[in-house]
Amino acid sequence: MAAEDLERLAQQSPEDARQSTLKDVAIAIRGLEVGFGGPPIIKGLDLNIYRGEVIGIVGGSGTGKSVLMRTVIGLNKAQAGSVWAFGEDFLTLSFFEQRRIEKRWGVLFQQGALFSALTVAQNVQVPMREHIRNMQQELMDEIASMKLSMVGLPPDAAPKLPSELSGGMKKRAGIARAIALDPEILFLDEPTAGLDPIGAAAFDDLIAHLRKTLGLTVVMITHDLDSLVTVCDRIAVLADQRVKLVGTIDDMLESDHPWIREYFHGPRSRAAGVGKR
């Protein structure tokens, strides 16, 4: 069923893709091709990201998960294809128009990517300071405090420098900065990598909580089977340069693609309780 879906997407006209991003689709990726000189890393990739869903992107090392995310948010150049976001062809927009769209999504990088010279609270204020004219310092302080509390950071973490925080706290602060302007979409690059199982579970809870309360659409690259099971509505598997399969965890379990079988039926997935369902 899922494979047919992808087939259908590939045959959609650009206008259909654009129209769909005005309704229930947040981002529509069509025929995307990205490479860095050598053979393309992804080619002919089609994917719909629906509003309000949490979609997990999985794939072996080097299948282009990060490349896909970086291309969609405009950090890498695509050789071909289009990324429709909110009814506009993001990759063809001018620099300034891209900035306008970029304010509607937030990104959490793997290590948090906090600005090292600013305190945690100042990091959260950066987007407000840059993009909202005449915002009162008092209001920025209050909103930054609220965001830090929302991501579960204690108040005494706010005046610290990022270098004084643990890895998990850095990621939480990174999320607080990403949601500073109340984006509609949140991109997460391996949010639970490098966290201990307890911290990772707490982070999964946080993502689910934010998604529920803020109505966010979440796109996360992850290797964490627990995250895939607990927070993701759908999973997209990257293999052979494109999205091989997209669907729920049950669709994954039924697939007979060798890599997908190994991934979702391996010993680690049994430990995560995937097979039991």
Partner: protein
């Protein structure tokens, strides 16, 4: 009696009086981009003492966390002032956002408060003293360790890494030749040109040769080579060793019983001590060539005549004074470069910081030492 109203997506608030109290109606888009004007206008609200207030949300078109925060903080302040406040007409999603604002009301410190100026100055002075003291001991210990390592080679010569040393000689010496040569040549040109212009006033153009020979051989050849090498190789030493330290490669060597002194520091040290005099000699020649070219082109001194004059001018020690400093400066650059590289810790930022420090310290030490040498050589009369 609307206080403020606007159309479309603009956010607005309206205050109305009803029988039993007052209503506060919020409408439009209460989103973060609209928050500054809302924040201002919410400040101007005023109510009769103790009257109950209903906050009506049914005209809200959009609400995000910033808007929810503004609503919540208004209600919070009104309640604190003794009003009976309730929300009305909000959708489930909107009420959940207001709940979020309510549960996450915890104003925190944005940055640490600065201690007062006097305390801070004392603190800074103390920190500098501690740091300088610590650095002096640590660098002395490093020199000692290097000496010890070198001494051990007399007993175990096979521990010396010849291949690495030769490789470093190529990197710091051979590869530096184009830039050192070009700079020295140009400095020779400049000295000759400026000198000739002044000396012509006395009709003593031929003394340009004396000027070029003395300046280049005694000072400029060595000084310029040392400064270029400090910028080129000293910084490279720090950056290379520093990034290896960040990558835990140095720790890995330790656990494999490989001494970083043997593999990293000694080859660089020996390479610079050997290559620095060679580079200096080469810089001297290039400087003289630059001088000779100007002598020929602008003063009409034939190259052969320049050479003969040079031969007469050099009084034994001119060349020696320059060359004797070379290995010392080379050792200094290598020591500072390697020491700073091994001192990197924490983040990638520290590699950049130590690289800058390494170059600044090397150049500073070179010029200070050079001044001492100048006094010393003048005193002993060479």
């Amino acid at each position: 009696m609307g206080q403020r109203a606007a159309i479309g997506n603009e956010p607005w608030i309206m205050q109305n009086r009803t029988d039993g109290g007052a209503t506060l109606q919020a409408g439009g888009a209460w989103i973060v981009t609209n928050s500054p004007p809302l924040f201002e206008s919410l400040k101007t609200l005023s109510f009769r003492k103790d009257e109950p207030i209903t906050v009506e949300l049914d005209r809200l078109e959009r609400l995000d966390t910033a808007g929810a925060w503004l609503l919540y903080r208004t209600v919070r302040d009104l309640r604190a002032a003794g009003h009976d406040v309730e929300y009305k007409g909000g959708t489930e999603a909107q009420m959940s956002l207001i709940d979020q604002a309510t549960t996450n009301d915890a104003l925190c410190l944005i940055e640490e408060r600065e201690p007062n100026v006097v305390v801070r100055m004392l603190e800074d002075v103390g920190a500098v003293v501690m740091r300088v003291g610590g650095q002096a001991t640590a660098s002395l210990a490093f020199v000692g360790l290097l000496m010890e390592t070198l001494w051990r080679y007399t007993k175990y010569p096979r521990r010396f890494r010849l291949t690495a040393t030769v490789k470093q000689m190529e990197l710091v010496g051979l590869n530096a030749m184009p830039i050192v040569g070009l700079i020295s040549f140009l400095i020779g040109v400049v000295i000759a040109y400026q000198g000739a212009y002044q000396l012509r006033l006395f009709g003593a153009e031929i003394f340009t040769v004396n000027l070029v020979v003395t300046a280049v051989l005694r000072e400029f050849g060595i000084l310029l080579s040392a400064i270029i090498i400090a910028g080129r190789s000293g910084s490279a030493f720090t950056a290379e060793i520093g990034s290896m330290k960040m990558n835990e490669e140095i720790d890995a060597m330790d656990t494999l019983a490989i001494s970083p002194m043997d593999t990293l520091v000694v080859p660089r040290f020996i390479a610079l001590v050997i290559m620095m005099p060679l580079l200096t000699f080469y810089a001297d020649i290039m400087g003289l060539l630059g001088g000779a070219l100007i002598g020929w082109l602008s003063l009409g001194i034939e190259p052969m005549q320049f050479l003969e004059r040079t031969h007469d001018v050099i009084l034994g020690w001119d060349l020696g004074v320059g060359l004797i400093k070379a290995p010392i400066f080379g050792a200094l650059i290598a020591l500072i470069g390697c020491y700073e590289g091994l001192a990197c810790k924490g983040s990638a930022e520290s590699v950049g910081h130590h690289t800058t420090k390494s170059v600044v310290e090397s150049i500073f030490m070179i010029i200070v030492l050079d001044a001492f040498f100048a006094i010393f050589f003048t005193t002993i009369g060479v």
